[in-house]
């Protein structure tokens, strides 16, 4: 509770520190506008046109429905990765053999290009939700799994000894000694996993479904509707930035205050 309050209290200062970020975004938009003046509307619509399209799209029920579909797929996929990846990672971390055995599997999962997974998933599940969700899971699972594994593998034996010397009861051992350490590994892994899930969901939709943001992107491409395509990209990036900088980053800062 105290913790949540502290996050909220530090929030204005954090926002204030964001001026630099805003300046760089504005600079980026300026360059974008220059690109538009050089290459013309078809190749690169102006920021203004893109944002007008964006506003019109956000007022359109159909578009909102597409966004919701994508959001649903990403959340289910990421949610499953989060629960399964975290618990398996923690479990594997506690057993030396399990963590050794899981390494090559993780290498395969990480090394395999997502596009290959999409193709396989299309063969296995056909065109639809399952294919997209499956791809999201396989892409974000290893990141979270490795984070949780690292968290448990790197637990400090000296601190464990210290907690034994003070005869800490099990719940204190867990909440005061293990959890903060593990969480400092798991939380960043969740953040990267979420970023990955959001990127992969659109890619999978573009290839394997007829609805969702990815599919809308495919339609925009076939109609050479560059403003819509760009507006969709802005939606994706904007939402990711919102979640990352407005929600996750302040939490991460508080959680990692103790880190040097």
């Amino acid at each position: 509770m105290k913790f949540t309050l502290k996050i909220l209290k530090d929030f204005p200062a954090y926002l204030w520190s964001g001026w630099g970020a805003i300046a760089s975004i504005l600079l980026f938009i300026a360059l974008w506008d220059m690109g538009n003046q050089i290459y013309g509307n078809l190749v690169l619509p102006s920021p203004l046109e893109t944002f007008t399209t964006l506003v019109a799209m956000l007022a359109d029920e159909n578009v909102i429905a597409e966004i919701k579909t994508t959001l649903y797929r990403a959340s289910v996929g990421f949610g499953i990765s989060l629960v399964v990846g975290t618990s398996f990672g923690l479990l594997a971390g506690f057993f030396a053999t399990a963590s050794m055995m899981s390494r090559p599997i993780v290498t395969i999962l990480v090394g395999m290009p997502p596009i290959a997974w999409i193709v396989l998933a299309m063969i296995w599940f056909g065109m639809g939700d399952e294919t997209v969700i499956f791809t999201v899971i396989v892409a974000s699972f290893p990141i979270i799994f490795v984070g949780a594994l690292q968290g448990t593998r790197t637990l400090d034996g000296d601190l464990k000894e210290m907690s034994d010397s003070f005869k800490l009861p099990w719940h204190m051992k867990f909440f005061d000694v293990y959890f903060p350490h593990i969480f400092s590994y798991v939380f960043p892994a969740w953040v990267s996993g979420l970023g990955m899930a959001w990127k992969i969901v659109v890619m999978a939709e573009l290839l394997a479904t007829s609805d969702g943001i990815g599919a809308s992107l495919a339609v925009a491409r076939s109609q050479l509707d560059t403003p819509t395509a760009l507006a969709l990209v802005v939606i994706m990036i904007g939402s990711l930035m919102f979640v990352e900088y407005i929600i996750l980053e302040p939490i991460k800062r508080e959680v990692e205050l103790w880190r040097s």
Partner: protein, 245 residues
């Protein structure tokens, strides 16, 4: 009668013999110091006595009602501030949170920490401050037996003396028994009833020195005189390789 009794204790790490045939008894109210060269197995001996390492050969029987440990490296929880670190042992013993915090603040001030340090995380403390926090964490639970592994090594002379006099005070009131490890012979002479000299490779006890004068009666003169005497001892000279070649 509470006591710590170590009998024919041997210890190996892998195939390396670390300790050989260690015997001693620490009675209630006593201070027993172990001095010896670095790598001689002092920390290992302390961990065996405190039950942090499993005894393989021989025995170490601890019948003290309660004990706590100040480690050579401070071993603070990096995600807890000074006060919460000190309060750890109290909370583990079932003390109420508010009482634990109160006690921790009091002892922190006593140990030369300042109010402005209370909220700091260990990463923002100096080495000596970390040691003081660790020492406070061990003492605040008022243990019957205290294991000290060079708790003063990172402190300046003034602070060292201040903390020593806190200990001497407790010793004189017979509140505490201490198994103490140090490199500092003067410190050992100031605080101990008995000093064990541990020679390395493998660690074994070569000599014991006893001091009968009550700790609070020992002035600097006494300590200097005894130190000068002990430094001329053959065993001390060979154990610490003090000979000028």
């Amino acid at each position: 009668m509470e006591k710590l009794e170590v009998k024919s204790l041997n210890h190996h790490f892998g195939f390396t013999e670390i300790l050989r045939d260690i015997n001693f008894t620490l009675n209630k109210g006593q201070v027993l110091s172990v001095v010896g060269p670095s790598g001689g197995g002092k920390t290992t001996l302390l961990h065996l006595c405190a039950g942090l390492l499993d005894v393989e050969e021989g025995s170490a029987t601890n019948t003290f009602a309660s004990s706590s440990f100040a480690f050579q490296d401070a071993r603070l929880l990096p995600w807890k501030n000074v006060i919460d670190n000190i309060a750890l042992g109290l909370l583990a013993a079932g003390e109420k949170k508010s009482v634990a915090i109160e006690k921790s603040k009091k002892i922190a001030l006593e140990f030369g920490l300042e109010e402005s340090d209370f909220e700091k995380f260990p990463k923002d403390l100096s080495g000596g401050m970390r040691q003081r926090v660790s020492f406070a964490r061990a003492l605040v639970v008022k243990p019957s037996l205290l294991f000290l592994d060079e708790p003063f090594s990172a402190l300046d002379i003034g602070l060292k003396k201040e903390l020593q006099s806190i200990l001497i005070d407790m010793i004189s009131k017979k509140e505490i028994s201490i198994l103490f490890i140090t490199h500092d012979l003067m410190e050992a002479i100031r605080l101990s009833d008995e000093i064990l000299l541990l020679k390395a490779d493998p660690g074994h006890i070569v000599k014991k020195f006893s001091y009968d004068l009550a700790q609070n009666k020992r002035d600097d003169e006494y300590v200097y005189a005894q130190s000068a005497k002990i430094l001329q001892d053959r065993e001390i000279i060979t154990t610490f390789e003090l000979e000028l070649k």
